[in-house]
């Protein structure tokens, strides 16, 4: 009973630690998104301002 409880606690701690490490790696290293691959910004002019 005591040994099983300790094992469960140890596995829980390892699982939480690995989870935090993975989340932190994604958060810090992740690029967050892909910039627009086509198109671009242009000033409002001509038909835009009629």
């Amino acid at each position: 009973m005591g040994a099983g409880f300790i094992t469960m606690v140890r596995r829980t701690v390892v699982a939480v630690t690995v989870g935090i490490a993975v989340a932190a790696a994604i958060r810090v290293r992740g690029s967050g998104g892909v910039p627009p691959q086509t198109g671009g910004w242009r000033e409002l002019r001509g038909d835009d301002l009629r």
Binding site: G32, G33, P35, P36, T38, G39, G40, W41, E43, R50
Partner: protein, 330 residues
Amino acid sequence: MSQILLFGAGATGSRVARQLRSTGLIDALEVRDANEERLDALAASFDGWVTRGVGRRIEGRYDAVVLATPPGSQVALARRGVHAGVPVITTSNQTSEVRRLLALDDEAAYHEVPVVVGAGFMPGLTCLLARHGARDYDEVDEIHVAKVGTGGPACASQHHRALSSTGVDWRDGRWMRRAGGSGRELAWFPDPVGGRDCYRAALPDPLLLVGHFDGVQRVTARQAATRRDRLTAPLPMLRRPHPEGGIGAVRVELRGRVGVERRISVFGAVERPAVAAGAMATAVTLEVLRGRIAHGAAGLAGVADTVSMLDTLAAQGVKPVRFEGITTFV
């Protein structure tokens, strides 16, 4: 002869003064500010065109009053302006204050004066771009606005508070309260700002947009923030804000229907926020002087003629842009 009263000689107020002068259409400007030193410096930088004023009393001789004071101080002044029968242009970006300014609608309509709520970068230019972009649509379903950057110290303090305060979104026909700092979304702003992580915050834009777009389903507002901003948001500001922030940007995304086609369009602008807010307040002031703003209290999403204001903004150096290249879908 047009005479304008300006409250506030800070980063935004001083820009309003310079840009009103550059139009050549204003005969006299009276500026009032609690900070005498700042007021002296502003008055001295003009050759007698700016006069220094004192107090909070507003007489009926002014053609318009522009409020560029810190958020939280504009409602009482706006009410005084309304009761004096003077059109009021406000620049507040504080949610609670914007609510109270909008609540002046009946009083403003009774006194037959316009109260323009949120004539700054965001809200202000964002509302104008949303209205302008909506001309292309048969029906606008979604409006999403976002901003980067701050103007003067008061704007920076408000920006800091907003990130830890509860914001409001409009979703499926009702208001939803949203925790500040939640809802991360990567938004692409015009160059050179580029991509920034944006989060929900206590931003007043949805309050100013929803009523002007029949059938709109979703309206959200976000502001860019770094990890440090989010971490320190619940704390008091750890150091005094800079006299003025750097380059800023706004972005307005519209989604809706054109015929049977679904369409997305994105508008934006890049400028130092205080400069853009000054240009926006100037453009609105000119519209007020021309009698083109309806009586009552409302934001800029309700204006009929967006082109005139966009032209004035362009003349002031603030040139809105549109993203081209987004695919439409059926």
